[in-house]
Amino acid sequence: MVFKRSILLPLLVFLTAALVLLVTLLLMLPGPNSSGTASRVPIGGPFQLTDQNGKPFSSDSLKGKPFALFFGFTHCPEVCPTTLYDLSQDLEALGKDADRMNVVFVTVDPEQDTPELMKTYLSSFDPRIIGLTGTPDEIAAAAKAYRVYYKKVPTESGYTMDHTATIFLMDGQGDFSGASNFQEAEDIRREKLRKLVKNG
């Protein structure tokens, strides 16, 4: 009895510790269908568009690599060329890591932004940047998936576009991972891209 009583306390401590460890491990391991899906931000999703070479390009084409995606249009004086310029500089700064991610520019002005114009326009930027256009319905569906707002605004002679200027940072599964925009400081944006590539 004396012997048994002397191990009772250590045994209790051990069992308690073991239980805490077990519960912690269970909480940390993401369940296949529980916490992993629950924490997914509902931004992004499947789309079917056309790239600057006139070839079909779907969201499946981006699977396996993280990507930075933003919406804009070529008749845009500031935000779009600036964002493309910034991301071109970022790709250069990332060095080899740049090949482990994609950068995607989706037009919100499919009427004017033909694949040919997208190709010409993107020739001024990093050649790895993918430019996407499509039918108005296809663009609307892609914009909806990314919760992007865009609207035609009439001007004296034609129209311009209002649009969400967010750069969406998506992981290798196509899930939302973070965001940036053209107003964010270069070092902060670049750090986000490095992290995106690292996490895959």
Binding site: T74, H75, C76, P77, E78, V79, P81, T82, L84, Y85, D86, Q89, Q112, L117, T120, Y121, L122, S123, S124, F125, Y149, V153, T155, E156, S157, G158, T160, M161, D162, H163, T164, A165, T166, N181, F182, Q183, E184, A185, D187, I188
Partner: protein, 175 residues
């Protein structure tokens, strides 16, 4: 890692904005253009990507007269025309609209056309604007009439509203 600004430097920056017409004349930048009671300073544009149909134009206009004037638009050999637009950023949405009836420059005020705010739009560009070039343009004001202005074209990464962090606010500085 965030850039920090001391109060003295902020005050200096504010002072610079307030007295900029005087400073600009003594600096190395192109001479200010005078037209009646208006002074137009530091006109610049941004290099445009291949195939781009539009380009932005930026400058500062000071009205030293007693009457308001209005910038209604203009022309440029490189474009079909120049329009006055206003950009703003609200909740990550970039909004763009034409300034109906022209941009008013009140007596004694300086209006800045800059990234993220009021700006000129070179419409239907005939060729891309290249870094280092000078682009000729003519601005049209209701009272001051037509004014020839040379725009210095800067690199594509220039002037994105990052510097101020207040890109959305249209600037009108009182003297």
């Amino acid at each position: 890692m965030k850039p920090t600004f001391s109060m003295p430097s902020l005050a200096a920056a504010a002072l610079m904005l307030a007295v900029s017409p005087a400073l600009a004349q003594s600096s190395a930048s192109p001479a200010a253009v005078k037209a009646g009671t208006l002074t137009i300073e530091q006109p610049w544009s941004r290099a445009t990507p291949a195939g781009a149909q539009v380009g932005g134009g930026y400058l500062r206009i000071t009205n030293t007269g007693q009457e308001p004037d209005r910038l209604t638009g203009g022309s440029a050999p490189v474009a079909s025309r120049i329009e006055v637009h206003q950009m703003s950023m609200v909740d990550n949405v970039m909004r763009m609209k034409a300034v109906d009836g022209g941009l008013e420059i009140k007596p004694g005020e300086t209006v800045e056309l800059k990234p993220g705010s009021y700006h000129l739009m070179f419409m239907d560009l005939k060729e891309p604007l290249k870094d280092g070039e000078t682009v000729k343009g003519t601005l049209v004001f209701e009272k001051a009439g037509s004014v020839a202005v040379d725009f210095a074209v800067r690199g594509m990464g220039q002037g994105t509203g990052k510097e101020t962090g207040h890109g959305a606010a249209p600037a009108q500085h009182k003297h």
